[in-house]
Symmetry: C2
Subunit: 205 residues, 2 copies
């Protein structure tokens, strides 16, 4: 444990972990530096040895989140190969799976108001995540009869939007809003119908 040295051990990650829990169940604005510090067993002032300030902590979490997210998407994509269709469907499912498994990261990424262009590193890793889905879309696009082929960025945006909508409305519960169906099913069927509309699944499947 060479990294564990000084007084605390690894305060930086401890703060990130504490913040994740707080963001997860109090929202991105219910989260406070002071409380994260307390959770990590440390004075608020100690935070400034590791982060420039409150927003910097959130941005760090978002960046880590995008990294994990991109990896997950990438893995899902690979697992579907060589079938373009299987890859595409898997990436769609990965979106929801990520939101479920890493809710704190998800909130920091999509609901915290942190700009994607805050730092070049953040922009880069965020783009990486989006690129995986677009790559899957491009590959899939080749199976669509020419002339009926919408731009790949367009239908990757459609799937991204539907996934995000399902997460926001039915998975991460807007308070009081009841889900008519399990979010996973909702997304699965939604993508299925959509792909049929693209002519990629036979109508009577």
């Amino acid at each position: 444990m060479s990294k564990r040295g000084y007084h605390h051990g690894n305060l930086r990650e401890a703060l990130v972990d504490a913040a994740l829990v707080l963001i997860e169940d109090k929202g991105p604005n219910g989260f406070t530096l002071s409380e994260a510090a307390k959770q990590a067993g440390v004075t608020p002032a100690a935070v400034y040895r590791h982060f420039a300030g409150r927003d910097d902590l959130i941005a760090e979490i978002a960046q880590q989140g995008y990294g994990i997210f991109a990896d997950l998407m990438e893995y899902a994509f690979q697992s579907g190969q060589p079938s373009a269709l299987a890859s595409f469907e898997a990436t769609g499912r990965a979106y929801l799976a990520f939101a479920r498994k890493y809710p704190g990261h998800y909130v920091a990424m999509f609901e915290s108001g942190i700009s994607i262009n805050r730092t070049p590193e953040l922009a880069h890793v965020a783009t990486r995540a989006a690129d995986v889905l677009e790559r899957a879309a491009a590959q899939l696009s080749e199976h669509i009869p020419e002339g009926h082929r919408p731009p790949p960025q367009m239908f990757s945006a459609h799937i991204w939007a539907m996934s995000h909508g399902v997460v926001e409305l039915y998975a991460r519960g807007s308070p009081g809003r009841k889900s008519p169906f399990p979010p996973e099913d909702l997304l699965e069927t939604g993508i299925g119908i959509y792909l049929r509309g693209l002519g990629l699944i036979s109508p009577d499947k």
Copy 2:
């Protein structure tokens, strides 16, 4: 102007208006009672003559928003009649149009964390909005060949999710996220492909 009486005139609505502007460009948590009061030209304490507190103001805005939203959806639905397809498409478009035209209300409704079940009135009007879309879906459902007919609540949820996703990701700009296409086009084409997948639009349209 019988309603304009006392000192201010109609402070209640003035506060709502001020809050709408604040919520719109500072987010639901950047909004403060004190600032809304100042914008309305009034002491913070005056707010308590009209609202029980901060959350009550936000809930009032959400409730007004759902009312407007439901009316808009209803109108869109009617304007598409007697064609079930036209009605359904129109309600989808109305979602985005509402988000564009009433951003403050939209945020209070969907991003403020106010529970839909806060009061019976709020729950009622929120349900009313959702019901319009579900009605449109049910009507449309009859045109789908039996056996290929998903539950109407399911595809109304799909459209709701895609609309919400488009709004959140590409219209109300997650900061720094660039829209590949105009949100209106994105939603229009997305719904189009989806409906084709349902067998409601001929494949070569």
